[in-house]
């Protein structure tokens, strides 16, 4: 059952549409990440759900109860039982960590203190943190206390607004794990708003991509990554090579060879999405001829293509290569390979595309290949 349902939510400011007809449902006990660039309307959507902003149209229900319906119902934010973790935590500076966590509890529960300790432990902090003034906490600890504060009164949903912004990479990963652990322990239904695709893909049971105030796609992370609805979403959720091609009979012919299509039934001119990690390299056998030449393999991906390494960026675990195809098109593609085996710039290589690819009819795509 969906704990949170948004139907047709729309909001404009001075005639400028910020949200348009957004539908979203978040199943009980799961985390949905709302992924969008800045200005995509994700914060407005979150504030509509919270009750800080009234939508112009649409309805929001929480646990089956309508908390907002444009022009008819507007339950005040404090009556919605929705927990909220603001950017950078927003801890009350005049209260200690423990007083912050107990803030939303009833008086007796606050005095008794057990739930405060429990909530602190939930986010991986022990009871010794309770008396500490909030400004003495580190950035990561502040985010944890903010989550503990939101979870303590057992809300129906928790909304997290860019909860890891401003944390360094190590602390970010650690805090992210603590948050996932705490949400899991509480079996909380949660919505995470972020502009970071890695964060959205790694944390969300589902990811909703918001673009220009509209929901572009909602899917499980792997599905979103593998079969985005268009080239923009493809690029937004990860690095993408987009090549022009011609589809027929479940295959597409493009500069990277003749490849099997995931989404069959498309015919004619298309754009092909090939993720950098789909490209596999082998040292070039210095054979003659230009461009693609046939080599059937069991996968149904039939061509090894000759290319030369023009750029090499080392990330440790892997390396991203920029390759120029040695054909008439001189198409540039990116490949992600294991950090240890990457060829050096200038080296000639052969590439093969692994796994089927997604194609988009050419007219619906917006931009040229990268």
């Amino acid at each position: 059952m969906a704990e949170l349902v948004c139907e047709g939510v729309a909001k404009s400011y001075r005639g400028r549409e910020v949200l348009g007809d957004v539908d979203l449902d978040v199943p009980t006990g799961t985390l949905t990440a709302i992924l969008g660039a800045s200005g995509s309307g994700k914060t407005t959507l979150l504030r509509v759900i919270m009750g800080f902003v009234e939508a112009d149209a649409g309805r929001v229900t929480v646990g089956g109860e309508t908390v907002a319906e444009a022009g008819r119902v507007h339950l005040a934010a404090d009556k919605r039982a929705i927990g909220y973790v603001a950017q950078e935590g927003a801890l009350f500076p005049h209260l200690s960590a423990g007083e912050n966590v107990g803030f939303g509890l009833g008086r007796s529960e606050r005095r008794q203190g057990a739930r405060i300790v429990q909530a602190l432990e939930l986010v991986g902090l022990d009871a010794s943190y309770a008396p500490r003034p909030s400004h003495e906490l580190s950035g990561g600890e502040q985010r944890r206390v903010a989550l503990a504060r939101a979870l303590a009164p057992r809300p129906r949903i928790v909304l997290l607004d860019e909860p890891f912004s401003g944390l360094d990479a190590g602390l970010r990963a650690e805090t992210r794990e603590a948050v996932l652990h705490a949400l899991g322990e509480e079996q909380a239904t949660a919505v995470l708003v972020t502009h970071d695709q890695a964060e959205a893909l790694s944390m969300g049971h589902e990811v909703a991509v918001l673009r220009g105030g509209r929901l572009a796609q909602r899917a499980a992370p792997s599905e979103l990554y593998r079969t985005p609805v268009d080239t923009d979403v493809a690029r937004f959720v990860g690095e993408a090579n987009i090549a022009a091609g011609e589809a027929s009979g479940g295959r597409v012919r493009c500069a990277l060879g003749r490849l099997k299509i995931v989404n069959g039934g498309v015919e004619g001119p298309v754009e092909v999405l090939i993720r950098p990690e789909q490209i596999e390299l082998s040292a070039s056998a210095d054979a003659g001829g230009d461009g693609a030449h046939g080599r059937e393999d069991g996968s149904g991906h039939d061509h090894a293509v000759r290319a030369r390494v023009t750029e090499h960026v080392y990330y440790g675990a892997d390396t991203v290569l920029r390759l120029t195809l040695e054909d008439r098109s001189h198409t540039v593609v990116k490949a992600r390979v294991s950090g240890q085996e990457a060829p050096a710039p200038g080296e000639a290589v052969q590439l093969v595309v692994r796994g089927p690819v997604v194609v988009f009819p050419a007219q619906m795509s917006r931009t040229e290949s990268t």
Binding site: F52, E54, A76, D78, P153, P155, Q187
Partner: protein, 533 residues
């Protein structure tokens, strides 16, 4: 998830009522009431003036003298206001941004002139001889008594400024001077304009100081007309011009300010700013601060000391005869001040919350309409309130309640400015978080906003308290016959030749005002728990 009994207290289906523009209806209603109450004397005065006919209003400017006096008022405001802006801005910059020695002392001395009763200061200036009388004294006393408003607002804005802005400007090749003019000053503009607006409006309706310094202005003329004819309608007709002037200035300021709202504190990194070394400039700057302090605080305090030393023979006996009035006068003044401050805070709170949290045309309009309390000379405002009370609420007429109300109404704009300086620094996310944790608007205010804003709200109250102490015009009209205050006693005694008789009252007033200044310097525009010092 856990939608069990624990969260059931949330689910009573109470809806937030919202008014036009999505403003919370309760807050809006309170603000409208406050604004209407403050604007009441202006409404009554307009009605009285129109009753006399528009011809009478036009005729009131017929003679040459009122026109000259109107010009005098405008001239003194035109000179004093920029001077007050300059003094306040430079004091703020040197105190907040340089390694000036004894900064706390200079802060206190930069705030103290505001809390010092103007009738004491101007009387002290007048006794120094004819040099400080007339235009020079009038412009000087206004500039040196009101520059602390600009100082307080500018210092607050400087403290809240993100140091990264200045660092970026420096990294782009701007030197200290150009950084000040291109980055810092534009951000101080709202504080500077807001402060100067209060100075100019206050100047136009100032009376006590100009009478003491023998400078004839339009307000002095209005008082004279009233005493001459004892007709409210004549004073009302003349007051129409000060109302028009006030409204014009309010419009001018909003145009000048443009879209820029008061500096919103960046909630990013709160790094302490680096202070500039003054180096060889230290001595000249210190000399400037000493000169400013001597003029604004030194003269009244020095004169007071002189009065005490001169309290020989005749004077001493006069002082002795009066000293048993000192206790009751102090009690009355303090009680009036506290009551006036509390009431002014009650009026100012909804409006400042509205302006800070729901900024927009409506909020700005309501806020600026409280400035109409500057549109009338105190005497005229007091008379119009007495008129309303005698007609519609005879029980209030000649009661302390009416006096407290009048004093509070007079100083609401100052309370709004002071509260706003504090409330604007409280992150909305804190209030949002409290709401998400199940607290309604009132409990959110009580448990989050109020505790955080406590220092700033205290400062707002103390500011009004000091102004009530320093008020004479309203008290003279509305004080019940059997009561007297420090101000009225000072006034009564200083008109005799024996200064010594007035000295004890002035001493208590100055002592209280210094205490108020000490509170202001530490608390104005401050938020609890956010910054140290």
């Amino acid at each position: 998830m856990l939608a069990g009994g624990a969260s059931a207290h949330w689910l009573r289906s109470r809806r937030t009522r919202r008014g036009p523009g999505g403003l919370p209806l309760g807050l809006l209603a309170l603000s409208v009431v406050a604004a209407l109450v403050v604007a009441l004397p202006v409404g009554v005065t307009i009605e009285q003036a129109l009753e006399g006919g528009t011809a009478a209003i036009a005729h009131s400017l017929d003679a040459a003298s009122p026109r000259t006096l109107l010009l005098h008022s405008v001239l003194v405001a035109a000179v004093a206001t920029p001077l007050a802006g300059l003094l306040g801005l430079s004091a703020a910059w040197f105190i907040e941004r340089t390694r000036l020695p004894a900064r706390r002392l200079w802060t206190l001395l930069a705030v103290a002139p505001l809390t010092m009763p103007l009738f004491v200061t101007s009387y002290a200036w007048a006794t120094l001889g004819t040099l400080l009388q007339g235009f020079l004294g009038a412009a000087g006393i206004i500039a040196f008594s009101y520059y602390p408003i600009v100082f307080l607002l500018a210092a607050g804005a400087l403290r809240g400024m993100d140091p990264a802005l200045e660092e970026s400007a420096r990294s782009l090749g701007l030197n200290t001077r150009r950084t000040f003019f291109r980055v810092i000053l534009p951000q101080l503009r709202p504080a500077l304009l807001g402060g100067m607006l209060m100075v100019v409006l206050d100047t136009l309706v100032e009376f006590d100081a100009f009478v003491a310094l023998k400078y004839q202005t339009f307000t002095v003329h209005i008082y004279a007309q009233y005493e001459l004819s004892f007709s409210a309608s004549g004073a009302a007709a003349l007051s129409m011009f000060s109302i028009v002037l006030c409204v014009l200035l309010l419009f001018a300021e909003s145009r000048l300010r443009g879209g820029a709202n008061y500096t919103r504190v960046s909630h990013g990194v709160r790094r302490p700013v680096t202070r500039y070394r003054l180096g060889r400039a230290t001595l000249p700057v210190l000399a400037g601060f000493v000169a400013g302090a001597v003029i604004s605080v030194g003269i009244p305090v020095g004169t007071l000391v002189y009065w005490f030393t001169q309290s020989s023979s005749a004077g001493l006996s006069g002082a002795a005869a009066n000293v048993h009035f000192l206790g009751p006068a102090t009690v009355t003044s303090v009680l009036l001040g506290v009551a006036g401050a509390l009431l002014a805070l009650a009026f100012a709170l909804p409006i400042s919350l509205l302006v800070v949290r729901h900024s927009g045309r409506m909020a700005t309009l309501l806020e600026r309409s409280t400035y109409l309390s500057f549109a009338l000379p105190d005497l005229v405002a007091a008379i119009s309130l007495a008129y309303v009370a005698s007609h519609y609420a005879p029980g209030l007429y000649e009661s302390v309640v009416l006096l407290v109300l009048a004093e509070a109404m007079l100083f609401v704009p100052f309370a709004v400015v002071a509260m706003r300086a504090t409330l604007g620094q409280i992150e909305p996310a804190l209030e949002d978080s409290a709401r998400s944790l199940g607290l309604g608007p009132l409990r959110t205010f009580a448990r989050v906003t109020a505790p955080l804003a406590r220092p700033g709200m205290a400062a707002a109250g103390v500011l009004v308290f000091a102004f009530v102490l320093g008020d004479l015009g309203t008290a003279q009209v509305l004080l019940p016959p059997n009561l007297y205050t420090l101000g009225t006693e000072f006034q009564a005694n200083s008109s005799t030749v024996a200064f010594a008789a007035a000295a004890p009252f002035a001493a208590v007033l100055v002592g209280l005002s210094m205490a108020a200044a000490a509170v202001l310097m530490n608390r104005f525009g401050r938020v609890r728990g956010l910054e140290a010092g």
